[in-house]
């Protein structure tokens, strides 16, 4: 049975913890830091209308989010990536805001995982 809430897939997180052992905490910390950096880079790319950069950053954030079970953020990235490819005149700021919001909601839940032991 897959356990998930709106923002996180707990099953994915538990599988990751099992697979990575004592490195799990470090992985989450890196994700948390990199996600924030990537979102800032998305804003910069958006201001510059750099669509290649936008697509690449969104794709990267989607992948890493999926790996750590941050499913809401991953879905929003997928949606944004699709919009960028199909409709370049979409509302860039709106998508980025949604992603940022989801990330901010996910972070505390992820930080809690540091304290969770198997």
């Amino acid at each position: 049975m897959v356990e998930k809430n709106l923002y996180l897939c707990i099953t994915t997180l538990n599988n990751l913890r099992d697979a990575t052992g004592e490195v799990f905490d470090e992985i989450l910390k890196i994700y948390i830091d990199d996600a924030t950096i990537n979102i800032n880079l998305l804003r910069t790319a958006s201001k510059e209308n750099n669509f290649d950069q936008l697509i690449r950053l969104t794709h990267t954030l989607k992948g890493s989010s999926r790996n750590v079970g941050a499913i809401k953020t991953a879905e929003l990235c997928e949606s944004f990536e699709k919009s960028l490819k199909e409709n370049p005149s979409c509302d860039l700021e709106m998508h980025i805001n949604l992603i940022q919001s989801s990330n901010e909601s996910s972070l505390p839940l992820l930080k809690k995982q540091f304290e969770t032991k198997s």
């Binding site: 599988n15 697979a19 990575t20 004592e22 490195v23 992985i27 890196i30 990267t60 890493s64 999926r66």
Partner: protein, 561 residues
């Protein structure tokens, strides 16, 4: 669950290529916990450089990366190492079929989607690892095969080098022999030998079954025996017998040498030919006349061993200038472009026409025109030996009534224990008594005469060694040792056969380099208690006369029948 696990007990080295640190760390941790070694790269260019340096066993490649994406990196790595199998697994969040298909098209071997599943990752790695190991094993075997092939090629070339040095006649003035040697492939199975010794022209054409090493193995002793015995003016029957014996010993079953051996005796004006399995030898007279044929009447050499082999020998008297042709079946069995054989008749036609038009060169030219391509189905060998008529002695051996010859048995012949065989063969060429007791007597006389001379006069053997237990073995060992060390020894034997009407007479006069004192033959007795001392007595008994001249150290005897 802190201990790393070695999947399937194989430790592999991995290259993880992803621009995202989180992804790199997840995969690196998973792989290290499985007991594998890991390098990482942030983009496609770093991946290409890292692989060039480290040659990892497997690559996990992200698709979308800055500087160089995964598709390009995969293509480059695969192209730069086209003789290797490098498993590349694309790690991707892409889900559309077209993009996934592109992963495979650019050279990827599998893909792994996100989120990474440890069990699926392990299964994919193991599957590709098995394939990779199999590939490496095949490569290793290929390398071994290449090395073996190279070694065989070197041995083949060595055999060819040896063979080509010994299988062509040594340089002559070019006037006596002309030849064509055309091997089918790198190494030939044909050999051609020629020697001019004491006004004899010796020639031998050999056609070995097989090529390459098997022919080279037989060619070496064959050429060695031929040239040594030609130098001794040995009878061709003896040459044939010795070669056949040796080939029977060294060649594997089923391999032999078809041959034609020729002795053109310009002292006496005779040609002796042994044809053992090759096409008809031909004599073309310079005057207008048909060809003279000498068909094969003997088994090829090497099939039967045994020093008692006899050979049919053609004896031809030289009456005018002529040419002798000997050739291998590669000539008559040569194919033209329509796959039709030349055949014996067409070849003979070429030979006849060459008498007045173009000589030997015209035959080789016509052969080339007939074949019209460089492809051959067999080795081609052809030799023409020119023979000039001379002034010969009245004693014509083919007359078989009166004959005489001076035989010089040199150090080599004595050393190789061939003195008796050479002499017997020489005598048998001229005596055909069809009477076995006569032949046995002659054999006994020659054997005893020469054995006595070699053992006691040249080797100075002490017959008393034969006495006692194991005496003959000791004598034989002592004799072998002494004979191996002789130098510059010889026996000159004058042989004369005369027809006296109702009887025939064999006269032998022997002189040698030996130094032993001869006994007083008038007082030779046989002691029945001793295992030696019978030879001279036997000679005295068999011969009409038997005498030893101590002053000029000669032995002479007369045998009548």
């Amino acid at each position: 669950m802190n201990n790393p696990i070695k999947g399937d007990n194989i430790t592999l080295s991995f290259l993880i290529v992803d621009d995202d640190q989180t992804n790199r760390l997840i995969l690196e941790t998973m792989l290290k916990r499985l007991g594998h070694l890991v390098n990482t790269a942030c983009n496609g260019q770093e991946a290409v450089d890292s692989y060039a340096k480290n040659k990892q066993d497997m690559i996990l490649m992200d698709v979308m990366m800055p500087v160089m994406d995964g598709y390009d990196a995969c293509k480059i790595i695969k192209e730069n190492n086209s003789d290797l199998f490098i498993p590349i697994i694309f790690i991707t969040a892409i889900t559309d079929d077209q993009s996934l298909s592109k992963c495979i098209e650019c050279g990827g071997d599998d893909f792994l989607t996100k989120p990474f599943n440890n069990i699926i990752l392990r299964a994919k790695i193991n599957a590709l690892a098995r394939t990779s190991l199999l590939y490496k094993l095949i490569n290793k075997k290929n390398e071994e095969m290449r090395a073996i092939h190279a070694q065989l090629q070197r041995e083949h070339e060595l055999a060819e080098s040896i063979f080509s040095k010994i299988s062509t006649p040594p340089a002559t003035d070019g006037k006596s022999i002309e030849y064509l040697l055309s091997p089918q492939s790198i190494s030939s199975g044909d050999i051609l030998m020629y020697a001019e010794v004491n006004n004899h022209q010796y020639a031998m054409l050999g056609d070995f079954t097989g090529h390459g090493l098997s022919a080279a193995i037989g060619a070496i002793p064959t050429t060695d025996i031929f040239y040594k015995m030609a130098k001794q003016n040995a009878p061709i029957e003896q040459i044939a017998r010795n070669i056949s014996q040796k080939l029977n010993e060294v060649l594997p079953t089923g391999l032999y040498c078809a041959a034609c051996i020729v002795d053109i005796d310009n002292n006496k004006g005779t040609i002796k030919i042994i044809n053992a399995g090759v096409p008809d030898a031909l004599i073309l007279l310079n005057s207008d006349s048909d060809l003279i044929y000498f068909k094969s009447t003997n088994l090829p050499l090497g099939i039967i061993a045994g020093k008692s082999n006899t050979y049919d020998i053609y004896n031809y008297n030289i009456k005018e200038d002529c040419s002798l042709y000997i050739y291998s079946d590669g000539i008559t069995e040569a194919n033209n472009i329509d796959n039709k054989m030349l055949g014996q008749d067409k070849f003979e036609e070429m030979v006849l026409l060459s008498r007045k038009h173009g000589g030997f060169n015209s035959i080789t030219k016509k052969m080339k025109e007939f074949r019209s391509s460089d492809e051959q189905n067999d080795d081609i060998t052809l030799a023409k030996i020119d023979i000039k008529v001379g002034t010969y002695s009245d004693i014509n051996p083919s007359d078989s009534t009166n004959w005489e010859e001076e035989l010089h048995i040199n150090n080599e012949a004595i050393k190789s224990d061939q003195a008796i065989d050479i002499t017997i063969d020489k005598i048998k060429e001229h005596i055909d008594s069809k009477n076995l007791p006569i032949e046995n007597n002659i054999f006994t006389i020659v054997s005893e005469l020469l054995s006595n001379e070699i053992d006691h006069s040249i080797l100075a053997m002490d017959s008393s060694i034969k006495e006692g237990n194991d005496g003959f073995h000791a004598y034989k060992e002592e004799r072998s040792k002494k004979i191996a060390e002789i130098n510059d020894q010889f026996i000159d034997l004058s042989i004369k056969v005369e027809d006296l009407g109702l009887t025939r007479m064999l006269t032998l006069l022997l002189r040698s380099s030996g130094t032993t004192n001869y006994p007083d033959i008038d007082n030779i007795t046989v002691n029945d208690d001793k295992p030696h001392g019978r030879g001279l007595h036997l000679l005295k008994k068999l011969c009409e006369s038997f005498s030893i001249n101590k002053n000029n150290k000669t032995i002479s005897l007369i045998y009548k029948w």
